[in-house]
């Protein structure tokens, strides 16, 4: 099933400049695994070596933060949008 991954501008260099990626995945975890296979540098920017999502990276499925659903096991349906967003913090 096809979902769309929205890539924030600082990470587009890791996926040949694409702002949106189409891929097949039934969960957020599967989507990240697919990203790791296709764009390892992009995956490294989202997850650390242990596979955990980096602390300042937020993943949303449509409008819901995955932490408010089932984390990486959050199910994806055809047409869903997985958004990668850096947390808002500064200094």
């Amino acid at each position: 099933m096809s979902i769309t991954v929205h890539v924030p501008s600082p990470l587009r260099g890791e996926c040949e400049g694409a702002s949106r990626l189409q891929l097949s995945a039934t969960s957020v975890r599967a989507a990240l695994e697919e990203l790791e296979r296709r764009y390892p540098a992009l995956h490294r920017s989202i997850c650390d070596e242990t596979g955990k999502v980096r602390p300042h990276v937020n993943l949303f499925v449509n409008l819901a933060h995955v932490r408010d659903r089932d984390g990486l096991d959050t199910a994806l349906a055809p047409g869903d949008i997985l958004m990668i967003l850096p947390a808002v913090s500064g200094g």
């Binding site: 989202i46 242990t50 955990k52 980096r54």
Partner: protein, 370 residues
């Protein structure tokens, strides 16, 4: 092309490169490279065609290594940055040191949490060095105020010296395969045992190729007034070793404070060493009047160098890698501050002037003549 002086300035907001002729009258500034991302370590590798490396430490998206082959006009990411094996359980937090290895493309890299990595292809791929990264002490090291960082990698033939905050000084005598804690005489003011086997908060270690057994260390000092168990611990902050780091002794007498971060050795004289004393409580310039202190007799005595530096109302910090010295016949010191100033100390620090006064907070400065 005539010789150029290149200063790489790692800041909170990216890497800047300043370039000048040998007179050092006027520096042209380029950057920021890796804009908006903190740089904690740079390396100017002058072997063959010079290459510049820099760590780009992004708290959002992880660590990168930047590389330039045109003296810092264009930087590109290497193919990968150091990373722990998946099964290790640790994750990279920061990159604190980059040093050249033996081979043309060999690099060493110290990271947080304190671990060592090596590359044999100019930073495109990395392997963890297990002898220190998986040392039996490694899971007992504690983060200091700046994190659990491996900030010093000093190589001398088959000897490799490692400085860890807080972990102490570790020595390998087999080219980096095995390491042993080597902290005899290195104090720890913040532990019940003032002279533990390991766990000291070493801030920086420096050496000189003409005196390979000699090392200088800026340790975490400032414990002269300690009145807890174990008694006072004065003068544990500035140390010297004459036996390849096996034993250490204080050379802090005569300094206004034994607390500080960087320590730098004159490129042509192993007896001449520089420190930047700071007030212990604030980690800023003593009395608001910055000064670098120079010893020309290996730490036996010290002279205050402040001509041209502010005389008052200056409360910056000089971080562990924010002081360097070039290799010209009359070397100049370069001093980066947390308030974003880069100072040039001509004639070995006798006369200071401000090169740039409004950079982002400076983490590290490396200088080379290429």
């Amino acid at each position: 092309m005539s010789e150029r002086v290149i200063a790489c300035i790692g800041t909170k907001k990216g890497l800047f490169v300043a370039e000048s002729g040998k007179t050092r009258r006027r520096f042209e500034l380029r950057g920021p490279f890796g804009p908006g991302v903190a740089v904690y370590s740079t390396l100017i590798d002058g072997r063959g065609t010079p290459r510049i490396y820099a760590s780009s430490c992004n708290p959002y998206f992880g660590m990168k290594i930047l590389r330039s082959t045109d003296l810092g006009k264009i930087f590109k990411e290497t193919k990968s940055a150091p990373g722990f094996p998946k099964e290790d359980g640790r994750a990279l937090i920061n990159i604190w040191s980059l040093e050249a290895g033996n081979g043309r493309n060999d690099l060493w890299c110290g990271v947080e949490p304190a671990s060592l990595f090596r590359s044999s292809d100019g930073g495109n791929s990395w392997e963890m060095v297990p002898g220190i990264s998986n040392h039996e002490h490694a899971r007992k090291w504690q983060p200091g105020n700046g994190g659990l960082c491996m900030h010093t990698i000093l190589r001398d033939g088959n000897r490799v010296h490692i400085g860890i905050s807080t972990g102490g000084h570790y020595l390998s005598e087999d080219g980096g395969t095995t390491f042993a804690a080597s902290n005899k005489g290195v104090g720890a003011g913040f532990m019940p045992d003032p002279y533990p086997e390991f766990g000291q908060c070493v801030h920086k270690i420096a050496g000189h190729p003409d005196a390979p057994g000699r090392l200088y260390m800026q340790n975490h000092g400032g414990w002269a007034e300690w009145d807890g168990p174990g008694g006072r611990r004065p003068d544990i902050g500035v140390l010297r070793s004459d036996d390849h780091g096996k034993t250490w002794r204080s050379i802090a007498k005569g300094l206004p404070s034994d607390f500080g971060f960087p320590i730098v050795v004159h490129p042509h004289d192993p007896d001449t060493v520089y420190v930047a004393p700071l007030e212990t409580s604030t980690r800023t310039c003593p009395g608001g009047a910055p000064a670098i202190w120079r010893s020309e007799d290996g730490g036996g005595s010290w002279k205050r160098l402040a001509r041209g530096l502010p005389k008052k109302e200056s409360f910056f910090t000089i971080l562990r890698d924010a002081m360097d010295i070039d290799e010209l016949s009359a070397p100049a010191l370069y001093l980066g501050t947390t308030t974003g100033q880069l100072w040039l100390g001509r004639d070995g620090g006798d006369e200071w002037s401000c090169l740039f006064d409004s950079l982002p907070p400076i983490h590290c400065v490396k200088v080379a003549v290429v």
